[in-house]
Assembly symmetry: C2
């Protein structure tokens, strides 16, 4: 990666954090961004949890990629999550590579990056670090939490840990636990990275020979899972890349090949290979029901948080059935829950795209809950 | 690969074969196996086309892997495709690595393996080479042709090229054309291989430092697509690999991780990385409708071949809709076609497994057609 993380807010968490692996960390940085303005009553704050390869730059310009923030479709002035109305917080996850404490952070004792000596973290560890950020920002109760994909896992974990800390919650295209196929796909990505000789057991920062090839393959694999069969077919089909017929080589003849290669190439410029390992591992370890004796419904017992669960019909990575399992558990706990499956061909990535029905749904839920929450706080 | 191809039949095709890429090859070997006995009337011959990583060792002991042949569930004495009754032929495809002419064959002019100087081949090239084998075996009309996955592509191409050469045909879990997702998955595998520095632009035979890592990742990716979400969950779920709890490392904690790593490891012992590139490329290039002005139905116009199309309900790599497209085209051509979707959770791999309903279906179709064909020939 040839970028510098300068233009981002950062706090140092001083309170020791005992990780699920047993180690304790302290005095570690969490990078974050905020958008909009916290009102006087502090009842308009929203915490957004980002996905595997996301970051704190939700909207506006991402200073690293110089592109729009990852959720500019949903968050901004006049958008579904309106920055003129709400105060939005997003933190780079623990283990990340955008300024938060992660494997590329410098171990001050050894004066070198942690690499694989960084502790293996969990979704719960990520969430606890973000709770410390909320304390720092002196926000005791959020209007809402949002999270798609791995963001939804953090959201569920946050609600389970701190039932009093948010009025409402919107997990999107997510799951309460990775199944075998989801673990398999992450393991494939990890193997692609760890098979690259330049990965060098995680020690690649000093010589700047990063495992680009492996990380690009990991990204390509993931990217295929973010789109649906039908969506890919509509967008690319068998269209050739600026040629009239097959060239009988192993160059990119098809547009889809060229597209995938491009996705791999741009990704390695912005993301750290070790972070990919750590974050994907946290996703695989996540199993909310495991934390409660009588399973998932116990995670939300007697909770007052109002939930909206959203899935996308063509999402095969986190299919609707994963969302329905959450709905069933919430219902079993007597929690107030709404559920929407958005019909679309654009697969898992739909939550990042301009999907009008989806954006209208989350806007309606959020605005309604703000009206109710305002009367309480 | 540390094996030797000795115990297999082989013919040298003397007749020049003009490939789709424009090059002409001649005096090249095709390795094959036969099972059972050709009867006097020569009306009991069946040609089986193998899939991407298959070979000519359909049943009995595979001398390379020392395991059962890849279709021992279906082919053998007393089995659905009964070797006591039928004469079964299977050839290693052109571009393969089990004795047929492929990238690891020696270029006699240069006294070194072809590597990437081997011509890029197509499914049609593979089929034409196998037709030459049939000529050599002096079989003018087959009782039937079978092929699963890429085998089904060869089968469709064979029927389109030589409508008079088979009485019946059974394409299984296949397609008449790769769509964008199918190309993407193959491209992912190719990128995994080509990203491995040991691949060395295809020149890795001499120094015996083969691109094992890349090929293993390619295999893992493919393997995930061969199983269904539900099948993986039933077999592995979140079960841990000989441990009671997470170990907070990047070793294989979950059984599915260990399983995938094993699949990658054993595969690289038997398969050539360049063959993977060439064969997967042929699959992506395959688009039967492209060969005919008015599309797929023209491929079978006025054909007398009796078809049975089989798909598996949980196969997401070559889903039922791919098979239905073939059925629709055959119907539009007025061809005799039966269609069966087998209900199973075992995904694309089902065609290789002991699936009683599937095996019963193909046995019934084959035996019935043998009775009819016997009266004709």
């Amino acid at each position: 990666m040839n970028y510098k993380i300068e233009n981002t807010k950062k706090i140092i968490i001083n309170k020791p954090l005992k990780l699920d692996c047993g180690q304790t960390i302290e005095d570690f940085p969490i990078a974050y961004e905020t958008y909009g303005k916290l009102n006087e009553k502090k009842n308009n704050a929203i915490l957004i949890f980002h996905a595997l390869t996301g970051d704190q730059f939700v909207t506006g310009n991402n200073p690293i990629t110089n592109k729009d923030g990852w959720w500019a479709t949903a968050v901004g002035s006049g958008k579904a999550i309106d920055t003129d109305k709400y105060f939005i917080i997003c933190a780079n996850v623990l283990g990340g590579c955008m300024g938060s404490f992660g494997p590329k952070s410098i171990n001050e004792k050894k004066k070198e990056p942690y690499g694989l000596s960084f502790p293996v973290i969990t979704i719960r560890d990520m969430v606890r670090a973000q709770d410390a950020l909320l304390e720092h920002l002196e926000i005791d109760k959020l209007l809402s939490v949002f999270g798609g994909s791995m963001g939804g896992m953090q959201l569920l974990q946050f609600c389970a840990l701190y039932p009093e800390k948010t009025f409402s919650a919107v997990p999107i295209a997510s799951t309460a636990s990775h199944n075998a196929q989801q673990i398999a796909l992450n393991e494939l990505a990890r193997q692609a990275i760890m098979s690259d000789p330049l990965w060098n057991k995680g020690n690649y920062y000093q010589n700047n020979k990063i495992p680009k090839n492996g990380l690009a393959v990991a990204r390509m694999a993931a990217h295929i899972t973010y789109m649906s069969d039908k969506g890919l077919q509509e967008k690319f089909g068998r269209k050739l890349q600026e040629k009239k017929d097959y060239e009988f080589t192993f160059d990119a003849d098809f547009q889809i090949e060229s597209y995938l290669r491009h996705q791999g190439k741009v990704f390695v410029e912005r993301f750290d290979a070790n972070s990919y390992l750590y974050i994907s591992r946290a996703m695989d370890y996540f199993d909310l029901s495991k934390q409660f004796k009588s399973g998932l419904s116990e995670a939300f017992q007697n909770h007052k948080t109002k939930f909206l669960i959203v899935s996308f019909s063509s999402d095969w990575l986190y299919p609707t059935k994963n969302s329905k399992e959450i709905v069933i558990a919430l219902n079993a706990s007597g929690v107030n829950v709404a559920f929407a499956e958005i019909k679309t061909d654009r697969g898992h990535d739909s939550f990042l795209l301009d999907e009008p029905e989806f954006l209208k749904t989350i806007k309606g839920f959020l605005d309604t809950n703000f009206e109710i929450f305002k009367n309480e706080k």
